[in-house]
Amino acid sequence: MTTDTDARDELIDLAADFYDQFAGGKIPELQLPTRTKSNIEYDTESGVWTYGDRTSTRSANSVRGARKLLKAAYTIEFLANQLDEGRSSTLRELYYLSESWDNDEAQFKSQDESNDLVEDLEIVTGVTREDFHMRPEESGATLMGPLEIREQTRRGEREIHCQEDVGEGGYQIPNNPDMIEFLDDDIDFALAVETGGMRDRLVENGFDEEYDCLVIHLKGQPARATRRITKRVHDELDVPIAVFADGDPWSYRIYGSVAYGSIKSAHLSKYLATPEAQFVGIQPEDIVEYDLPADPLSDSDVNALESELEDPRFQTDYWEEQIELQLDIGKKSEQQSLASRGLDFVTDTYLPERLGAMGVL
């Protein structure tokens, strides 16, 4: 566990590196792993995908590079002070806060810029942004299932049962899931669901109760906290994880980031990714087998599928077969297309069949 002091020291060390480069008559620069698809590698030890050896340099040699480094220096100061004072802020707040800095050149032009910079600092210092006390906006992702937890809130400890103590909306995953302690559970497996509509259907049909399942709502591309808690559920409670998403290339990426880690945060893969997570569907195979209502693939869908074929994370026999099948049939289906066979079809037939076939049930 990284303490606030450790995090602060790492930041100051980085500033000292810049200082030494200046003093040595050198051009200040920052070496970062190249954050592209071609520079992620499979780490056999942990089973996740992390950055390879290629690096890019942010150098003050150009006006652009110099601006980035200036912003880095200001951000370092801000984060160090925040840690000193034991406070925290959101990424969005950092973006707005830069407006108050005395230097126009140091201000962020967009929130993407400040988000990227914080990620850069995470990579260089090896400290996660949570440990810098930087959090994203609440993503709104939830848990629902037979799990009892203790959460360390700013207003004291809370013990919550994620089925009995919550409303239909479920338990909202906090920004730093490492503040949660698992107390007790009766979970056989966890099902990570992409869309809110499908999550609500499962809850309404009592799927979680019937199968002792923890329903994790991913809410689209999952936030770090969602991925982190999924990993913790898997590692600490020793239950299988299944991902249930739409049958299109974008949803495969959602699965990819849960299971293998995302390209942008590949430096945190070991901390966020759950390589054992399995993909339930909708598989291209299911579209054919269950004769699901489908939309034709758009050009961008085809491009995305083709690019996934080249993505090292998807270079497995299973995915190559599925993606090529999808390109072949030229169709995609949403989770909710299962409703074409009745509202209970998904809980009574599809999931039990699929999970059974996967060996989860």
């Binding site: 000292a16 040595g24 003050a60 040699n61 006006v63 200036l70 200001y74 050149e105």
Partner: protein, 825 residues
């Protein structure tokens, strides 16, 4: 209509027209009819033209006398008229010639000379006199003071318009403050509507005559316009030259041939033309022979194993010379012949002659003309298989009957194999063998049909012959010999044909024979001849073109180029171009184009001028100037000046406003302008990159110190020295001072990608000792330590010296742009 000189030939030019006019119509009438051509079509323009003619004359007169021109121009309103006064500090004009110079149209020393002068026709100033006289009724008032005379001479002069003769109304001594010079005063009906053109003319004259001092006063000016000298060097003195062989026309050549005292063409060429000596004359004459007589085709003589026995043939042709001499002669001829790759009949004749001379010396037998001729005939028959009438000999006739093919049986002629080899060599390997053979046959037949047995043919006849043979082959054998193949075949035969030894015709024969004269002209044109000497021209020189622009335009950049002399119509010419850019030159609208011919500014008819056409045709975007649509006049803060100097500048009209579109001159204008424009381009590129560097420097110069402040704040350390990092980022040259224990070290680091040659001077308040390399100079209690180190890219140098601890320093660094320099010393 071009200028007088180019129409001196057979066309009826204005000179003839004028000469006729003298008899039939009055000069005033002529002037009235032609004043637009002479630049006097309106009162506004007349004034400018009069100034122009008078100033041109003044400049020519002073330069001829080797005096730096000092010219004064004054225009005054006098009642309804304008009075124009032009003064120069020239040599003055003698009493005898003065009236003629100013008073008679077409009097002038320059009309027939090939020498660069401003005026060429001797028409200008007298036209001005006439114009003033016709409009105001006032005589021209001329004061002249030749050098060394204590008093000046004052004349009033009018032109008798009936006789074109000047009449002197007053002739008296006068006083004048100039020690020498000429002053002309003209009154004329005029107006100042062309003030801008007048100012342009004077200003441009100053640009292009940086050695002249010019002053202009006119009623619209509060202060006189004064143009000072930029150089004290007079333009190089020009020499008169003879015409160049590449520049004469047929009519002119015939006239020269008729007039010359030379007897031979060689003598004529050497006497009458520039750049023609014995060697060049010989080359011209060889070419002349080729055109006039044609060449003799050469053939491969028989080799040892061949059955064409030259020795036997020669020996048979010789009678009564005794066996030994005959054999020696026959063997000698045969041996020499077989030692040659190819022979023409004339070469064979030479060989026979040489061998005969040798045998005569050895044996004492005489081989007379007849014997020699017979021997040549016989040997040639043996080599080529044709007799003296050019008919095939021997079995050929029989064969012809045998195979019954088209027009003869020359397939057996020994020449066919020879022709086959040449055609085969000249055509591509893809031609099939039968086609080559057919071509060789067809060519040989046609060669045999040539008159005589020497196979003489001119180049154009050879072209036709080959084309004819190719057509025949195409028809009969369905094999095409295209344009290129034909040319190659012609070239194969022509290059092996020999120039005939015949004497060229004499000058009087050439003069009498238009075709022969045309042949000679062609020979002159095809011969490589040195460009005409340029001492007849006085280019301004690139240096002074630039100085002229520098003087009148306050710009950021100047470039100039002078081309080597070229020839057009026998007249050498030189083109010079200059460009000024930036500074106070207005950035809006198109660039200003200054046009000059023989140092005279051209003010009117810009659109009709060849220079304008050339400027418009250049793609200026390549050179960093804006050009809407990619063609036409470029825009931007630039002045382009073009000067064409020639012994005969081709103008579009007699008013000398615009250069005619002569391709040779246009090409040179383009090259000169492009040469200067290339410099402009690299200047603009450099400026752009310097600007980017400055912008980068500005931004980084702000950001990096702030970043340094921030990191020192965060780390709690003192602010770091960032100059080294800055210099490195800017690819700069940095100079840093270190002082310790009485030793000063200047560290020069070159972070740029080129080697830098620096000049570093350190001014020290106490005496320095033991300097590394550099020199120390004591200047009144201050010491200048100077080094000139060359620092390779990416390298550094340490410059050291010893000095007292309390010394103060001030360093200055030269040899590198300030943008690239970071001094911390």
């Amino acid at each position: 209509m071009t200028s007088f000189q180019s129409t001196i030939g057979d066309e009826e030019g204005i000179a003839e027209e004028l000469a006729e006019g003298q008899r039939e119509i009055s000069i005033a009438e002529f002037f009235e009819k032609n004043k637009h051509m002479l630049g006097f079509d309106s009162g506004a323009r007349g004034l400018v033209t009069a100034v122009k003619e008078a100033v041109d004359n003044a400049l020519d007169a002073t330069e001829e006398a080797g005096v730096l021109p000092d010219i004064y121009i004054e225009i005054e309103e006098v009642g309804d008229y304008y009075r124009l006064v032009i003064e120069d500090n020239g040599p003055g004009i003698t009493k005898a010639e003065l009236p003629k110079v100013f008073g008679k149209l077409l009097y002038g020393s320059r009309f027939h000379t090939r020498e660069q002068n401003r005026g060429q026709q001797g028409i200008g100033i007298s036209a001005a006199v006439l114009y003033s006289q016709l409009t105001s009724g006032q005589p021209a008032k001329i004061t002249s003071r030749p050098k060394g005379q204590s008093r000046a001479q004052y004349f009033e002069l009018i032109i008798d318009t009936d006789t074109n003769e000047p009449e002197i109304k007053a002739d008296e001594e006068a006083t004048w403050d100039r020690p020498h010079g000429t002053r002309i005063e003209l009154e004329m009906e005029a107006n100042m509507r062309a003030r801008q053109q007048l100012h342009d003319y004077v200003k441009h004259t100053a640009v292009v005559n940086p050695h002249a001092r010019i002053e202009l006063r006119e009623p619209g000016l509060d202060e006189p316009m004064k143009f000072e000298r930029a150089t004290d060097d007079l333009p190089a003195e020009t020499k008169e030259i003879r015409p160049h062989p590449h520049g004469v026309e047929l009519g002119a050549l015939i006239k020269m041939l008729e007039a010359t005292e030379s007897y031979s063409v060689s003598g004529f060429l050497q006497e009458e033309f520039t750049r023609v000596g014995k060697k060049t004359a010989d080359s011209v004459i060889d070419n002349f022979r080729d055109v006039y007589y044609g060449r003799e085709l050469s053939w491969t003589p028989p080799r040892a194993h061949d059955d064409r026995d030259v020795a036997a043939a020669v020996s048979e042709a010789v009678a009564n010379k005794g066996k030994a001499a005959t054999t020696a002669f026959a063997e000698g001829v045969a041996e020499t012949v077989s030692g040659n790759d190819r022979l023409s009949r004339s070469e064979l004749a030479t060989i026979v002659g040489n061998v005969a001379d040798g045998v005569e010396d050895d044996t004492g037998k005489t081989f007379g003309e007849t014997v020699r001729e017979n021997a040549v005939d016989a040997a040639w028959r043996a080599i080529t298989g044709v007799d003296t009438d050019g008919e095939p000999v021997g079995a050929a006739a029989g064969d012809a009957a045998g195979d019954g093919e088209d027009d003869g049986g020359e397939a057996d002629s020994p020449l066919v194999a020879d022709a086959y080899a040449l055609v085969d060599e000249a055509t591509s390997t893809r031609k099939d063998d039968a086609a080559v053979q057919a071509m060789a046959d067809a060519l040989t037949r046609r060669f045999l049909n040539l008159d005589g047995d020497a196979f003489r043919i001119a180049r154009d006849d050879l072209d036709r012959l080959v084309a004819d043979a190719a057509n025949f082959v195409a028809e009969q054998h369905d094999a095409t010999f295209g344009e290129t193949a034909r040319e190659n075949v012609v070239e194969a035969f022509w290059s092996r044909a020999r120039t005939v030894p015949d004497d060229p015709p004499k000058v009087r024969d050439v003069a009498a024979d238009r075709d022969a004269a045309a042949d000679l002209l062609e020979a002159m044109r095809t011969t490589d001849i040195l460009a005409p000497p340029t001492d007849c021209l006085a280019p301004i020189t690139a240096e002074l073109v630039e100085a002229g622009l520098r003087k009148e335009y306050d710009a950021d950049f100047y470039a100039a180029a002078t081309r080597d002399a070229e020839v057009h119509g026998g007249d050498p010419f030189i083109v010079e171009a200059g460009i000024a850019y930036g500074g106070n030159i207005p950035a809006e609208g198109s660039v200003e184009l200054l046009r000059f011919a023989n140092r005279v500014p051209l003010v009117y008819q810009r659109g009709a001028c060849a220079t304008t056409d050339v400027i418009k045709s250049i793609g200026w975007r390549n050179y960093g100037l804006d050009q809407p649509g990619g063609s036409g006049m470029p825009n931007g803060p630039a002045v382009i000046s073009i000067h064409v100097a020639s012994t005969n500048v081709p103008f579009t009209s007699e008013s000398k406003d615009a250069l005619a579109n002569v391709p040779a001159i246009e090409d040179e204008i383009e090259l000169a302008v492009r040469e200067a424009a290339r410099e402009l381009k690299s200047f603009l590129n450099k400026r752009r990159s310097m600007q980017q560097r400055r912008e980068k420097q500005d931004v980084l110069g702000k950001i990096l110190p702030e970043m340094a402040d921030k990191v020192s704040e965060v780390t709690g350390r003192p602010r770091p020295d960032i100059d080294g990092a800055l210099a490195r980022i800017m690819n700069n040259v940095s100079v840093d001072r270190e002082v310790s224990d009485g030793t000063v070290t200047l560290v020069v680091e070159n972070h740029s990608d080129v080697n830098e040659q620096l000049e570093i001077t350190d001014i020290v308040t106490t005496e320095p000792t033991d300097p590394s390399d550099g020199t120390v100079v004591d200047m009144d209690g201050e010491w200048f330590v100077q080094w000139k180190p060359e620092v390779p890219s990416g390298d550094e140098r340490e410059l050291t010296y010893a000095v007292d601890d309390d010394a103060e320093f001030e360093v200055s660094v030269g040899g590198v742009e300030t943008e690239k320099l970071t001094v911390n010393a």
